[in-house]
């Protein structure tokens, strides 16, 4: 164990690190500036347990109905050795539907590293060595000189470096190798009605897919292959309209790839962040709640209302951010001239003299706003 790993284990407590999945990594792009989250997620802390312990339980419960529906749909799409899935994917990519495809289930087994190795070997086995693809091919469906047969890989175990740490991704995807390229295939049970899906769900699916594309590309690179053998076009398979019939859509995730990549690059190496974290910092859910809460407050957070949908610690951080304009949302804070503190906003609005010249403009704005508001309320 390196010093950093020891440090993280100490922060986390006795438990093994929580596994990452594409969702948790996608969530990292949501609040990039939050040190608290970077440290907790980097250490693999059981955040739901932590939140519960300090009296601010997260509410990310999933309905049984939704889980059942998701599983049923996925099973239906993957039935018959993926024959239907293969047809959907091939047709959407505009390549001839292969008569058959290898179906390899890479799931199962407990040792993560083992699984990752097995995935890597099988995924890259039939690929030509690097150099045979000079540039990214023009179209996704471009026939490739590589003649290896079509193959579907279910549950490949992929990894990514997150904040200086290697994490394994819970595999919730199918990688399709078709026409010489890999495509990430995501099966989601939210419907696409008249060509439109719930924008929030679609956006989340796109970022998660980008995480997989990135991880697959890293895997190829590490094995000496051209990363662009993995397409930036992701195949999203969803139920169509109000039926159970699956329909495939292509999703260009280039923008999301940049966002995820930038975020992973930008996330300071965890050891740099840890320098500023107090030596006795603990997030061990077994520790005393009061100690935990006090400990957490010593690592800076950056709460925003988006946290409510993306981080298990949101209710704790929201409570801590009471009285901050940012807790009302960034647009509110900006409309208040960027002043962070509600009390200060009201003081400036009430005409308190400003000493800081940088605040003069905001103060003038707030003073005028307060005068106009009072005036309108009085004359109404």
């Amino acid at each position: 164990m390196t010093g950093t790993e020891q440090r993280l284990a100490a922060i986390r407590g006795d438990a093994p690190p929580k596994r990452h999945n594409a969702r948790t990594i996608a969530a990292l792009t949501g609040n990039p500036g939050c040190t608290r989250r970077a440290v907790l997620d980097g250490a693999g802390v059981d955040k739901p347990a932590l939140a519960e312990r300090i009296g601010f339980p997260a509410r990310f419960g999933q309905s049984r109905f939704a889980i059942t529906r998701g599983n049923t749909f996925e099973a239906q799409v993957k039935a018959d050795g993926g024959a239907e899935l293969l047809r959907l994917v091939a047709e959407r990519l505009g390549v001839p539907v292969p008569a058959a495809a290898h179906w390899t289930d890479l799931g199962g087994g407990d040792d993560l590293a083992d699984r990752a190795r097995r995935s890597a070997t099988l995924l890259t086995e039939a690929l030509p060595p690097t150099g045979s693809h000079s540039d990214e091919p023009a179209g996704a469906g471009e026939p490739s000189p590589v003649g290896e047969p079509a193959a579907l890989f279910d549950h490949p175990m992929l990894g990514l470096a997150v904040a200086g740490q290697r994490v394994h991704l819970e595999p919730d995807l199918v990688a399709a190798r078709l026409g010489g390229r890999f495509h990430v295939v995501e099966i989601k049970s939210f419907p696409v009605i008249d060509g439109q899906a719930d924008p929030a769900k679609l956006a989340a699916a796109a970022v998660q897919s980008a995480v997989y594309v990135l991880a697959l590309r890293e895997l190829l690179t590490a094995r000496g292959h051209d990363p662009h053998l993995v397409s930036h076009e992701v195949v999203l398979v969803c139920p169509r309209d109000f039926s159970n019939a699956p329909v495939a859509h292509l999703l260009d995730v280039r923008r999301q790839l940049l966002v995820v990549r930038r975020q992973l690059d930008r996330m300071d190496r965890l050891d740099t962040l840890l320098v500023d974290v107090p030596a006795d910092f603990t997030a061990d859910p077994a520790a005393d709640p009061a100690i935990l809460a006090a400990s957490l407050t010593r690592v800076p957070a950056r709460y925003a209302p988006d946290c409510l949908a993306s981080c298990e610690l949101a209710y704790f951080c929201r409570h801590e951010a009471r009285g901050q304009t940012g807790a009302l949302g960034r647009p509110v804070r900006e409309a208040l001239g960027g002043i962070a503190d509600v009390d200060e906003v009201l003081a400036l609005a009430g005409g308190e003299t400003v000493t800081d010249p940088e605040r003069a403009e905001a103060a003038a704005l707030l003073r005028t706003a307060a005068r106009l508001r009072a005036d309108a309320l009085a004359t109404a």
Binding site: F65, F242, S243, D306, T325, P331, V332, L336, T368
Partner: protein
């Protein structure tokens, strides 16, 4: 987010109570609105689970779907809902009025009143839109027949959902949106989507601050979500076993019992929201309506009349997607409506106008001098052009020469002639008036502002702007989406 609204939110945080951001009500409220609280089955494509619906607090009818994945039961639900919604709609088709069109050369008729649907939140609007989408193409004959009122309900729900996108329409209203139009809470916009928390901020129960009431409202076990999504805990712990028990019932007595249990569970989930809807309505009703609200409601009555006429004549369902011309025309209509709505709210409400005063698009000043008899004889004919001078403390950013209007004198134009800053940071403004003063060279009494009056002038214009012309569908080349192909969904489209 305007600075004034943000400031109100900051004040709400400090006060622990929501703060007004409007002094009048900006939407029409029907005397008998139909309140509809829908619940959907998690994970499914808009599968109805239950609804509470009615037009008076004590008349909430509960509809449930004991097996939400069952296609026939879904349509049975739609039929039951239709049996409430359609008579409610028809009740507004009794009396009409003649409206002059084409400069009085013709008349058309519109219903004196129109239906109004209230749902808890925007997700409720989406639920109705999708329910409309899934039912309007159904047929009473053919391979998958449904009760005849089901496709009719679908066409009406689609109409309501389309009106909901029209800025300023009050045909289908999401309660959370109606409330946040009038109050700013000390929480964020996402949190305001939760009706119980929002109402907690606006009208907390005695002994609690708004912030405390909102915090309580976040516990789904004591305060169920306002739908259509249910609380996952509720699904897993109570609903799933009850649905299973119903499915497993093999004799009539057990089935009746299981059904009653499902009803009880769903009623418990819906009743709190049902009550909040009427409380929200009460709060809104207590506000006096803005002067231009009735005019916008006329537009809703027009749209209602037109749709009713359409259903009476051929009644084809709305297409799945608009053609290119229809989409462009619709966008144009919505943009115009949005602009008009923004101006009208400012005209109706000094607190909304204050936002424009802050940005220099409006100012309020006191009349210092008035020359009501001033005549401009530089042209071919002498014309009455009184001038007034005002003193304002507001910033005046409008350029000289621009035409301003006062919301209290909308028929009169005021040209900005001079803008002179004074030594004490105020601004003197000279305006030249035209229109609204009667004929001749003498202003009719009261038509020129008098010394000492306080007036608001703004660059915002409430004047009618004619819309752009779009080709009819038949005149549209096929490259732009016309003539229209039948965009109907296949009648055998599954709903399972």
């Amino acid at each position: 987010m305007s600075t004034l609204r943000a400031l109100a939110a900051a004040q709400a945080v400090a006060a622990g109570l929501a703060q007004p951001v409007a002094t009048v009500r900006h939407l029409h409220l029907s005397r008998r609105p139909l309140v509809l609280v829908p619940l959907a089955m998690a994970g499914e494509a808009n599968a109805p689970l239950a609804a509470m619906v009615g037009s008076a607090p004590g008349e909430g009818r509960l509809l449930i779907v004991p097996q939400p994945r069952n296609r026939d039961q879904r349509f049975a639900f739609a039929a039951e809902l239709a049996a409430i919604v359609l008579p409610y709609i028809d009740g507004h088709r009794t009396a009409n009025e003649a409206v002059a069109v084409d400069r009085g050369r013709d008349v058309r008729y519109r219903y004196l009143d129109a239906p109004q649907l209230l749902v808890p939140n925007p997700a409720g609007v989406t639920f109705l839109r999708l329910l409309g989408r899934s039912t309007r193409f159904r047929r009473a004959d053919g391979e998958y027949p449904v009760p005849p009122q089901v496709p009719l309900l679908g066409r009406w729900l689609t109409f309501f959902a389309e009106r909901a996108e029209h800025p300023g329409s009050s045909t289908l209203v999401a309660m959370t949106q109606a409330l946040t139009l009038h109050w700013a809470t000390g929480q964020s916009a996402v949190e305001d989507l939760h009706l119980p928390a929002l109402l907690g901020w606006i009208a907390p129960p005695a002994g609690l601050s708004g912030a405390e009431a909102a915090a309580r409202a976040e516990d789904p076990s004591s305060c169920p979500p306002a739908g259509p999504a249910t609380d996952p805990e509720f699904d897993n712990r109570l609903l799933a076993p009850a649905i299973e028990a119903y499915a497993a019932a093999d004799d009539e007595a057990t089935r009746v019992e299981a059904y009653a249990e499902l009803e009880r569970l769903l009623r418990d989930q819906l009743t709190p929201t049902w009550e909040l809807m009427w409380r929200g309505l009460g709060l809104l009703r207590a506000l006096p309506p803005g002067a231009r609200v009735a005019g916008r409601w006329d537009g809703d009555r027009d749209a209602f009349t037109a749709h009713a006429d359409h259903l009476d004549s051929d009644g084809a369902p709305q297409p799945r997607r608009d053609g290119a011309v229809a989409a462009a025309a619709r966008l144009h209509r919505l943009e115009r409506a949005a602009a008009t709505y923004a101006v009208q709210r400012a005209y109706d409400d000094p607190l909304v106008m204050a936002e424009y005063r802050l940005t220099g698009e409006a100012f309020v000043g006191e009349v210092l001098l008035a020359d009501p008899t001033r005549v401009d004889d530089s042209g071919r004919r002498p014309v009455l052009r009184p001038r007034i001078q005002l003193l304002t403390t507001d910033p005046v950013l409008a350029p000289v020469g621009v035409t301003l209007t006062s919301p209290s004198r909308p028929g009169q134009k005021a040209r900005l002639v001079f803008v002179t800053p004074t030594a004490d940071g105020k601004t003197e403004v000279v305006l030249e008036l035209s229109g609204g003063m009667g004929r001749g060279l003498t202003a009719s009494p009261g038509s020129v502002p008098e010394v000492g009056e306080r007036l608001c002038y703004t660059t915002l214009s409430d004047a009618y702007v004619p819309g752009a012309a779009f080709p009819t569908a038949d005149e549209t080349p096929w490259t732009h989406g016309g003539p229209p192909a039948s965009a109907a969904a296949a009648p055998d489209e599954q709903w399972a």
